[in-house]
């Protein structure tokens, strides 16, 4: 069925409502439901982020690595990832554009670039996950009540003062400099490194859970998109759509691919910026 059946009777699934083919319309309705799913996730994230605002780790203090550059580089890496995904969205829309003009060679080239962009993005995400899971070399203390304290080495300036012993930092800016309190807090405390579903050296474990779940679910979408794009890319090379007379399949996977980019735009804002 599909575009060919437009002249058939309504009762046999003919006609194109809104001048959109069945496949394209159903892809849109699927994306609409998917948008609601992601809204639920990001809404839940926002809820927790503001409810636990004092102890919530900020993404810009967690994801500070950039390959090849030493020191803290907040936001730079995720900006690069965003750029890669926008770029692959552009190559996708170019493939759709040339598909409308039945230019097989150009569609193949741009589809190929889109697949490549998707793979690079997935690799970048794996790199970011790896750094998050491994954490910092010095780790953090998980206190008896489950909260996280960063150990600040002796001699480091804290609020304009230097101490000759290690001091603790709770949350983002609460410093504990009284030796007796430090000793009390350190009793039963455990050293933790990196983040997983149970502990998170950067702060609340919920942050790690949300991070793994939301970026993981988005990454799964990217992975599926790369898979679909690859199948369509191979079909383009074999001339399947040339024979069919239209490149609507490129358009349909294109919609999905742009949606993946769209979701990332929101993840970028709500996870890394706000």
């Amino acid at each position: 069925m599909g575009v060919e059946s437009t002249t058939e009777s309504v009762w046999r699934g003919g006609v194109k409502p809104f001048k959109a083919s069945y496949g394209k319309m159903m892809m849109w309705f699927f994306l609409l439901t998917d948008a609601l799913t992601f809204s639920g996730f990001l809404g839940a994230y926002g809820f927790s982020r503001f409810k636990y605002a004092e102890t919530w780790p900020l993404a810009e203090n967690v994801f500070t690595h950039f390959p090849g550059i030493h020191g803290d580089q907040p936001l730079l890496y995720v900006a690069l990832m965003t750029f890669i995904l926008i770029m692959s969205s552009v190559t996708m829309v170019l493939a759709v554009h040339h598909g409308k003009n039945m230019d097989t060679k150009k569609v193949a080239w741009w589809m190929g670039f889109t697949v490549l962009g998707g793979i690079i993005f997935l690799g970048s995400q794996a790199w970011e996950w790896m750094h998050f899971i491994h954490g910092t070399a010095e780790g953090a203390l998980q206190l008896a009540d489950g909260s996280i304290a960063k150990v600040i080495a002796a001699g480091t300036e804290v609020m304009g003062q230097k101490y000759n012993f290690d001091v603790l930092r709770l949350g983002t800016e609460k410093f504990i400099t009284d030796p007796t309190t430090i000793a009390t807090l350190s009793t039963g405390a455990e050293h933790v490194y990196g983040a997983n579903m149970l502990v998170n050296e950067y702060g609340l474990p919920q942050f790690a859970n949300f991070f793994f779940f939301i970026t993981g679910f988005h990454g799964f979408h990217v992975f599926t998109g790369v898979l679909l794009n690859t199948i369509v890319f191979i079909n383009v090379l074999f001339g399947t759509y040339e024979k069919r007379g239209h490149y609507e399949m490129v358009e349909k996977v294109g919609l999905y691919w742009h949606f993946v980019d769209l979701v990332w735009v929101f993840v970028f804002t709500f996870f890394y910026l706000v």
């Binding site: 959109a20 948008a35 409308k100 804002t269 910026l273």
Partner: protein
Amino acid sequence: MSHDKHGGTKQIWLVFWILLALTTVEVALGIYKPVSYEILKWTFIILTLVKAYYIVAYFMHVKHETKGFTWTLALPTFILIPYLLFILLTEASDLIL
């Protein structure tokens, strides 16, 4: 190369530059934080919605779909998502966004 009614590759690249510029502004604001967090937060949200508009309207071609189809997609989005967020953020706690 024939130009169809959906605009040529020129328009695609224009949208790309707009998206890139908006993202650069967001990243710069995120790094240097020139204004208070409250203003920054809403600036990020507005810029994101502008980016979303360009992706949906031009990359996903909604601007060139029929009016009926555009509304079919827009109405559930603009009713259900704010409703979902409203329930989540106000009913679940005493939190005021």
